[in-house]
Every structure is written in structure tokens, then in C-alpha cells.
Symmetry: C2
């Protein structure tokens, strides 16, 4: 039988999805599984944006412009203006989710064998996009003790080689929830300027900042032409399934290069562009409710976690994730055990082992990521489960 | 200013889109431009499939399964059964258009530097996907004299090297409209079996075959595990903007590898999957009308073309394209001249220079591709323009 390519073999499997069969088995046994493992919000997609799709009068669902509908890109300019980012429509390419924006960035700015520095733990799918682009990820470890703040800039300096073309950050961060300060962003600006590196900034969680001040990479004035903003409406409007994102750059040559990748795949999804465009018209107050819900959940989750003996969880400033350190031998084993061998009041909890978010082997073994995308009552029940589980788990450490 | 990657520079620009500014200028001067240049059908998207989206009751537009909704994949099994292809749902990955299916195929089956043989002229965007995957396209020239039939299999043999991993065909063909015969498909089966190559089969135009018998690569029994079927609903249901396609293979290891690429980008477009699923329920007779329309247009177009002195156009068996040989020096120059310097009754015609579909430099210079995606009356007017243009064009040859 013909075999897949080496690239196909090297492509990492999702560190979260491998637990899915165990969750399915648990459910078959009648156990309620609290899903804290994935970033799929339970927040309702705004009905008015769904209605925009329903009301659209489309005779022929034709290819759109490869950069996305001009009307949508023009509207996005006003959205970005509101969040303090000044753009024009010709600096935006609408993409198929944030995923495609990241692929376009890696393809258009890096060559096979080039290196990109990313603070770890990081969003695991960056690995997959790097394999697709033949790019090497060079990790710099951030630490739970200081809430996963930006590692000292000297550590970045030490990792820069002639192959280094870019630094990638996710702000606010998935999986840590950390919100980079203005000072940290300026440190990144400085190093990118001195070493002539691209700064890739994944700002998928921009709307969900609870403390501190959000600074977009696009606001770093000295490196305006070095920044690639990777964006998505998935989390902003709880529309993950729409698959609409954006690749944004003020670097005209990079924009032209990215447009060629966009043209090859013809156009982004047409129906979902209507949804995205309508979402720009939501009142500013739209975000108040989901943001308040997430903040309240974060507070409940962090408080409950830190009240469990042996558990440490910093309080992150944004997104809807936390990473917690648990008194366990191995997060992968523990998360599987939770699904396979444990229940409390006929319930259990599904978590994401943090090891999958670290590039450096062996790190994050006693850490898990929790997404607070379920309501407070369920979070409380999930924490009851976790508390009991940590008493019963055979691999508990001290 | 930071520069794009070498890959970004090498990425080919769309050979069709570069003429767009000239068409826009012509329209500004009040000239009606008949668009025979792109494969965007004018056929109405079936209202019932658009209604399925409108009637969907979605509270949270969540990520779907990375392989696409199971309900949709199960339905597709019945669609494929009707067209003579036996599959199960676990052999299908729903993709973002046919484009993504091709990228998945190249990524999962070929490594950087590997070679793929494609009969030329071929769909120009294969070049872009090959650049993304770092794969080298090795062309084998097909010829207008025999209607762009499959080149002799000895020519394939001669091009096979240790780096050759796959042969790619588009059947029925874009840009030639050629429909491969059962015998030709069996020749491909034989060579793929003997040399252990993948056969990538882009069958986007399956529904539009006018003469002869359509043979899917999936029906080649000796190479069941070597075939990758790349499909799309874009042309089938005139839903190009939906961005729904499919990657299909019976090779379990390749399927697993492709699934990892699918997981990295999370899921295909959600709203459009509803449309795709509803389309499977269209009555079998649905295709009668668009197929009859295309056939009638093909007949008008081919007849008109061959009636123009110095023009030769074979009659293709499928898809909705023809390639015609014109008495001109250079198709790129001629197509630009049509938009820039010519009009007849205040009309002109936009064609695709065929040079962009050939990998071998210098080929196709006196050929153009015409897509019959406009009605017969407009085709007639467009042919009036072309006939007059060929009398007036300064670069006319004999």
C-alpha cells in the first residue's frame, strides 16, 4: 500500500482530540462529561447576524473577490478603528478562519527551513501550520509562576539565528490567557526592529480582556510594515463554524504575495462573509454580556482551582483559558484516567493536558488547560469532580 | 522594508486576473464586456438548497467535525453511489472547496521536492498549490489536434523519476473540456500500478459530460488505494461561493494523514455544509436543465468558432470550457488588446490566454480558453465581436 508523505507522518495529531474516544466511552456509560477541554464557546451566535444570512437574496452563490467582499472589508475598517487599529480595506484579506491567515503568513513571509520564535506553551495547531510551510518553530518557555508573562527579551536574542524570520505571539494568549502589557509589546517591537523580524500577532481573543490594557501589534508604530495581524470572528461573535478570519498587513509586498495564495484558493466562504459583515453592525454594547459572563466564570474557576490542595492557577487577564498546575505525575495520563476510570455523582471532567502546548519535550507534564466556556453552575460541578479526582488519582504527587 | 519569502515571490499570479483591470477600464468607457474568461456559471444556485440554510435553526454556529458533519458525509455516500462510486463516510473529508482537497492531497502524499506529472494545459491554480507544498509539476503536453486526448503513456513513462509520486488529471478537463475515455483511464491505472504512483483525480465537472462515458478514477479497481478523488460542489450546483469540496481516499493511512491537516484548520465552513447536504436531496432530474443549457451553449460556441476563418476548436466532451486556436501572434497580447483597444457595437469579449495553462514556456501562445457560462444570445454577440476583432487585430497571422 502506498504510504503518506514524510510530512504527512510528521504532521502532529491534535493533542486534544486523542482523548475524544475516551469521552465518548464515558458518555456511553451514562456519565456526564463537563467539557473544559476545547475553546468552543457556549455563547449564542448573535441572532441578528444569522438573520443577515437568512435574509440575503442570492441568485447565484458566486466566487467572491479573493480578498473577500469589498463591502465587508470596508466595514471591517470601521470595526478596527473602534478598537484602536487604523487600516484601509486594501490592507485586509478575508480568510477561511484565523487558521488560513496563519498559513498565509507563514507561506508568504517564511521559506522552507526558516525559523519562527514562539513563546511556549502555545496554540498546538501552530505546529501543524509550520509542518505545512516547512518552517521550524523555536520555542521560548514562559512560566506559570509569573502567569506566563513574556520571557525576558534576552532569551529571544539568544535564539535568533540567520534563519529567524519572525516572532509569533497570541494576545491575549491561548492557552495561558495571559494579556501582554504595553511594555512587553514594546519590547517585542524593539527586538523585531533591531533584528528585522516579522511580528505575527494572533489576536483572536481581543474582545475578552478583563484587566490591564490591550495593545495590538498593529499599534506598534516603529514596525508598522513588519506586523502581520491574524484575526478571526470565531470567538468574537461565537461563530467558530463560520470560518471567517482576516490576514492584515501594511507591508504592500507581503500583501501582494499573500494575495497570490488567496487567489489560488479563489475565495473565502461566501455565506459566512455575509454573517461577518452583519456582525460589524452589532451595537458596541453587544460585547458587554459575553465579556461579563466570561469574567464571572474565570473568577469562579480560578478561585475553585486555587482552593484545591496542591493546585496553583494564576489569574489570566484575557481570552477564556487558564493553565493550572496540578499535584499529578502526568497530565496525559490524568486526563485519560478522568474519563476512563473516574466519576463523582456520575459526572467527570474533560481537560486538555498542557504537554501538547509545549514544544520542549517534558514540559507541562503537571499542567492542564481549562477553557471556561460552560456556565458557572457546570464549572462548580466540574471543580467538585476535579477536587475528588485529585484525592483518588493513583498518580498523585505532593 | 521586510520582503516576502522566496516562496511568496515564486507563487504565480493568476493568469486570468491580471486582465481584470483592463476589463474594468473598458466597462468605465461604457463598453459591454462578454465574460468568457472565468468558470463562474450563471446558472441559478438551486433555491431549495439556499432555503435549507435559511431554515436551519442554529443557536451556536460551532466548529463541525474536522472531516465535516457526519450527516453530510453519510448523505454523500448515496450521492456517490448514484454516480457509480462506492464509498463509506469514513473515506470522505469535507474540504473548503476543491482547492483545499488538492492541497491536502499534495501535502499528505508528497514531500518537498517530489514530482507530480500533469498533462498540460492544466488548471493554473495547481501551480500555486504545488508552490505551497514545495512540489515540482512535470508537464506532459496534450495537443489541440486530437482534442487534448491523453498523451501516449510512453511519454508518462519517460518522465517518471524516483521523485515521481503522483499523476494528476482533471476529468472532464478544465481548461480543455476533454473527457477521458475508459481506455485512457485504464492506461493511467496500469501505469500507476506498475510504478506505484498516486492518481489524483479532480472531478469537479463530473455532472457535465455530453458524449462518451464518464469513468471516475475511483472505479479503477486495481488501484483503489492509490486514488485520491478531489471533488467540489462549486460547479455541480452552481455554488462556487459556498467553498465546499471533498477529499476522498480508500487508503486508510493517507486518510489519517489528511485528517491531521484537516484538524489543524479545525473544520470546513458550517453554513455551506448545510447547503451541500441539502443539495444531495435534489431530484435526479435537477441536472437535466443545466446540462442541456451547457450542451446547447457548447454547440453554439464551437460552431461559431470554427466558422471564423483561421480558427480551430475541437468539440470537447465535458465541463464548460473549450480551447480554441486563433490566427494570432500572442494570446496575452490579443486578450489585452480586446479589452484595451477594440469594440464592436460597443461590446467586446474577455478571454483567458491559454499560455497560463501550459507549464512549458512558449506553448499555447495562439490559443485561448473560453468558458461557456453565459447564455446563447450573449455567446453569439461575443462571437460577433471575436470575428470582427480577428479582422482588425494588428498581430493577426495566417
Amino acid at each position: 500500500m502506498l504510504k503518506p508523505s514524510t510530512r504527512g507522518d510528521q504532521m502532529p495529531a491534535s493533542p486534544i482530540r486523542k482523548l475524544v474516544p475516551f469521552a465518548e466511552e464515558a458518555k456511553k456509560r451514562g456519565i456526564k462529561v463537563h467539557h473544559l477541554n476545547i475553546g468552543q464557546p457556549d455563547i449564542e451566535t448573535p441572532p441578528s447576524v444569522m438573520d443577515a444570512v437568512k435574509q440575503a437574496d442570492i441568485k447565484v452563490l458566486a466566487y467572491s473577490h479573493s480578498a473577500g467582499n469589498e463591502s465587508y472589508r470596508k466595514k471591517l475598517v470601521s470595526y478596527y478603528q473602534k478598537v484602536g487599529i487604523t487600516l484601509d480595506a486594501g490592507e485586509i484579506i478575508i480568510t477561511t478562519g484565523g487558521s488560513e491567515a496563519i498559513v498565509f503568513g507563514m507561506m508568504a513571509c517564511l521559506d522552507e527551513g526558516d525559523e519562527i520564535i514562539i513563546p511556549e506553551p502555545f496554540y498546538a495547531n501552530y505546529n501543524g501550520f509550520a509542518v505545512m510551510a516547512g518552517v521550524k518553530i523555536v520555542p521560548i518557555t514562559s512560566h506559570i509562576e509569573n502567569g506566563f508573562a513574556l520571557p525576558p527579551i534576552t532569551e529571544f536574542e539568544n535564539k535568533i539565528t540567520p534563519k529567524t524570520k519572525a516572532i509569533l505571539i497570541c494576545n491575549p494568549n491561548n492557552p495561558t490567557g495571559y494579556l501582554y502589557s504595553k511594555e512587553e509589546m514594546e519590547q517585542l517591537e524593539d527586538i523585531c526592529l533591531r533584528h528585522q523580524l516579522f511580528l505575527f500577532s494572533d489576536e483572536a481573543y481581543r474582545e475578552f480582556c478583563y484587566e490591564g490594557t490591550y495593545t495590538s501589534a498593529m499599534q506598534l508604530e516603529k514596525i508598522q510594515e513588519q506586523v502581520i495581524l491574524m484575526d478571526t470572528i470565531s470567538k468574537r461573535y461565537s461563530a467558530c463554524g463560520a470560518r471567517i478570519g482576516a490576514f492584515i498587513t501594511k507591508n504592500k509586498e507581503v500583501y501582494q504575495a499573500a494575495m497570490k495564495f488567496a487567489q489560488a484558493r479563489l475565495s473565502p466562504p461566501g455565506l459566512a462573509q455575509i454573517l461577518g459583515e452583519a456582525a460589524v453592525d452589532l451595537p458596541d454594547a453587544y460585547f458587554d454580556e459575553p465579556k461579563a459572563a466570561y469574567l464571572s466564570r474565570r473568577n469562579v474557576l480560578v478561585k475553585r482551582l486555587n482552593a484545591i490542595p496542591g493546585v496553583f492557577c494564576p489569574t489570566p487577564g484575557g481570552a477564556f483559558y487558564v493553565i493550572a498546575r496540578l499535584p499529578i505525575d502526568d497530565g496525559d495520563r490524568f486526563c485519560q484516567w478522568l474519563l476512563e476510570s473516574f466519576s463523582h455523582n456520575n459526572q467527570t471532567v474533560m481537560l486538555a493536558p498542557a504537554s501538547g502546548f509545549y514544544e520542549t519535550k517534558g514540559l507541562g507534564k503537571n499542567e492542564v488547560r481549562l477553557a471556561y466556556v460552560i456556565n458557572n453552575e457546570d464549572i462548580d460541578q466540574a471543580m467538585d469532580c476535579l477536587e475528588e479526582a485529585l484525592k483518588a488519582y493513583p498518580g498523585r504527587t505532593n
